[in-house]
């Protein structure tokens, strides 16, 4: 275990200390006074490494990460989990734009809201199933080009509707679960909406319980409503767009 006071520290130094710590076999990191430092957890490995962050981590939190757990105890900024391969990121506040871009595995749980372009080009592969669960709502361009994995929008903050525009355009894989009905006419023509059935709910249950446990909230509160499921109409949305010269 190590505590690093990040006050006034450049990200390069902070991340070097983390990488060196991991090399030395340290498993638990407590970062204090984090104030916008970029790239915390970037490219690090180790399933049992846990980094607890007090303050506001900067952009690209957990980019290219492959195994560790990052816990942000406040809000976090843009590009969380960029091209992440494995691991877990907990945000106990709101997240910025572009969460989980190109993410291939691992979990990102956000207690509050997230910004624009969440889950863009998220993709699954074999046993790798990336999962994003968001407690509140999201901005526009949600799940654009989504190619795999699971995103759950809980809408716990009592907003009536998810009002994001360009919802799931170009989506061609994976599934989105919504805890609130949406005005489907507003969203992309590339996707279809169903009521989640028992199989879906059984599948989701363990993740929702894990989410609730992570933030010390009651899982009954989350699961007590019917869910809706959004899936792409085609794995090949642009198959007929071209003709060969």
């Amino acid at each position: 275990m190590i505590t690093i006071d990040a006050a006034g520290m450049h990200y390069k130094e902070l991340n070097r200390l983390i990488r060196e710590g991991i090399k030395k076999g340290i498993k638990k990191f407590f970062l204090e006074n984090v104030n916008g430092q970029y790239y915390i957890g970037d490219g690090i490995k180790g399933d049992d490494v846990v980094i607890n962050i007090n303050g506001i981590p900067g952009n690209d939190l957990g980019a290219f990460m492959d195994g560790p757990t990052l816990i942000a105890n406040n809000n976090a900024q843009d590009n969380i989990g960029n091209t992440m391969n494995a691991g877990k990121i907990l945000i106990k506040g709101d997240a910025g734009d572009v969460v989980g871009y190109g993410m291939r595995g691992g979990k990102i749980y956000i207690l509050g809201n997230a910004g624009y372009r969440v889950g863009i080009h998220m993709k699954g592969y074999n046993e790798q199933l990336p999962i994003i669960i968001i407690g509140g709502k999201v901005g526009s361009f949600f799940a654009e080009y989504m190619a795999g994995g699971i995103i759950v929008l809980l809408g716990l903050n009592d907003s009536d509707e998810f009002d994001s525009e360009y919802f799931a355009s170009g989506m061609h894989g994976g599934a989105i679960y919504l805890r609130k009905k949406i005005d489907f006419s507003k969203y992309s023509k590339d996707v279809e909406l169903y009521e989640a059935d028992e199989n879906d709910m059984n599948f989701l249950k363990k993740y929702l319980i894990d989410y609730a446990d992570s933030f010390n909230i009651s899982s009954e509160e989350i699961t007590g409503k019917p869910f809706y499921k959004i899936v792409p109409s085609s794995a090949r949305p642009y198959a007929h767009l071209y003709t060969s010269a």
Partner: protein, 506 residues
């Protein structure tokens, strides 16, 4: 729309068989990836509509019985309504699709390399004989420090105190351009990997991930990160000598790419880390890059993930404001900028983009080099020039215009038998290059073509040494950005100005 099976488009070529010579060995049937030939009971028959003039059949016909000729049945000549335009109208009216093709543009734009002449020594400043004297082609790609701190040891020998930023060492100023596994076959990639290792240069994975078989070639590989982030993970970033962030490609500036689902078989699926049969879609932009600051963020995300041990390259297409763009890229922290001119190749791109978007690499290079020098940041990044480098002469001229090294893509495929038929997008390449059909891929022997690539680059390197010798310089360094050694021919003042060179005779 209902689709009528009748097409106005007649075959472009005729696959003619001399039945007096043909011994019915059926090798042509086997060799043609397009299904042009079949056996009609007692003789080979040709379906001319399928022939693309890829040259495979006659190369492998043991009797020389095949000739491929342009279909003599003409579409009436008209300089305004050219045949290709008429055919595209038919094609699009029959399918409703965007016309796509492989390779670079076929348009006849002015090729500036062909209007640039090199200098040589006469009498004063003697030329050098490269057969007798050392002629240095070694090139280092990466950021160079703006000053060097030097100490001296007790014997008075200098010791370099400055820590050099990471570099890619090339024994000759060539790299293979980025071509992904998916757009080309694994055997084609292996041929380049073998050649790169033997030559002491590098190949580039393109955006299709790194196949397990290529991992041992890491010291000769640049790994690419594009908007689709296919096969990109921590270990991938650390498996080559450098990481390249692909923003654009000369053949298709500003647009992304689709590798169609039918090409995503088990092996490509594994390398790209996506499910079998889904489209591999690379969005037009990186959705986390909307500004120079955002690019900087990704460059440093990569540097953090590679512990600042690998140079980071940024690949862009040559477009109108390329000088300002590259200045921004260098300021964003790129160690190498790869500039791809508008005649560069592709596995598939819409013709509307390929034929009409971008600018020539010659003009882009001259402007970029000039701008970076003016701003005092030329040392901050190396420049790699690409976009149909067709010969060592093109390479020398590119370097004199300001490049540190040149990339070759199409030329490398030509080594493997490519006849530039431009049908890469169909996946039927008879040469086993731009196909994933196992029976076609199998015929491309990586060892044989690795050796031929080695031969080509060695020959081009010797030619460059000859030229350097004639110019009286003994190192490629001395030619870099030396536009005074170039003269233009048949160029306007505006063109000479853009190239930063004088007209011949001046």
């Amino acid at each position: 729309m209902t689709k009528s099976s009748f097409s106005n488009i007649q075959s472009e070529y005729l696959a003619l068989i001399d039945h007096n010579k043909c011994v019915r060995c059926k090798r042509c049937i086997q060799n043609c990836g397009w299904g042009t030939y079949s056996f009609g009971g007692d003789k080979i028959i040709s379906d001319h509509t399928k022939c693309v003039a890829c040259g495979r059949c006659y190369t492998y016909c043991p009797e020389g019985a095949i000739s491929i000729v342009k279909n003599p049945t003409v579409i009436r000549e008209n300089a305004n309504w050219q045949e290709s335009l008429i055919k595209n109208i038919w094609r699009q009216s029959e399918t409703g699709g965007i016309v796509i093709s492989g390779m670079g543009t076929t348009f006849k734009y002015k090729k500036y390399f062909d209007h640039i002449l090199l200098d040589a020594c006469q009498v004063t400043n003697p030329s050098i004989d490269p057969l007798r004297e050392p002629m240095e082609l070694r090139t280092y790609l990466g950021k160079k420090p703006s000053k060097l701190d030097i100490d001296f040891d007790e014997t008075g020998e200098p010791i370099l105190k400055s820590k050099m930023p990471p570099q890619i060492e090339l024994q000759t100023p060539f790299v293979f351009g980025a071509m992904s596994y998916g757009s080309i076959s694994l055997n084609a990639q292996k041929a380049m990997a073998l050649a790169a290792r033997a030559l002491g240069i590098v190949m580039n994975t393109g955006e299709g991930g790194l196949h397990d078989d290529l991992v041992p070639f890491g010291k000769n590989i640049i790994v690419q990160v594009a908007s689709g982030r296919f096969g990109v993970h921590r270990d991938y970033l650390n498996s080559g000598v450098a990481v390249e962030i692909k923003i654009g490609q000369g053949a298709k500036p500003g647009i992304g790419g689709h590798l169609p689902g039918e090409k995503i078989g088990a092996d490509i699926s594994k390398t790209r880390m996506i499910p079998v049969g889904t489209d591999a879609i690379s969005p037009a932009p990186h959705h986390d890059i909307y500004s120079i600051e955002d690019l900087r963020q990704l460059i440093y995300a990569v540097k953090e993930a590679t512990d600042y041990e690998k140079p980071v390259s940024v690949k862009v297409a040559a477009v109108h404001n390329i000088a300002a763009i590259v200045s921004g890229i260098v300021r964003a922290g790129a160690d190498i900028v790869y500039i791809d001119g508008y005649t560069g190749g592709t596995g598939a791109a819409p013709n509307i983009i390929k034929d009409h978007v971008g600018i020539p690499i010659e003009l882009a290079l001259a402007q970029v080099d000039e701008r970076l020098r003016e701003e005092g940041i030329r040392n901050e990044a190396s420049l790699v020039a690409a976009g149909s480098i067709r010969s060592s002469a093109d390479a020398v001229k590119a370097i004199a215009l300001g490049a540190d090294a040149v990339a070759i893509g199409t030329a490398a495929l030509v080594v493997m038998g490519c006849h530039v038929c431009g049908k890469c997008n169909t996946g039927n390449c008879s040469w086993g290059i731009t196909t994933q059909r196992p029976e076609l891929v199998r015929r491309l022997d990586p060892e044989i073509y690795g050796e031929r690539l080695y031969n080509l680059i060695s020959a081009w390197s010797h030619e460059i040494q000859e030229v350097l010798g004639a110019m009286g310089v003994n190192s490629i360094e001395s030619l870099r950005g030396s536009r005074e050694r170039l003269r233009g021919i048949e160029l306007t003042d505006a063109e000479l100005n853009a190239l930063g060179i004088k007209h011949a005779g001046l």
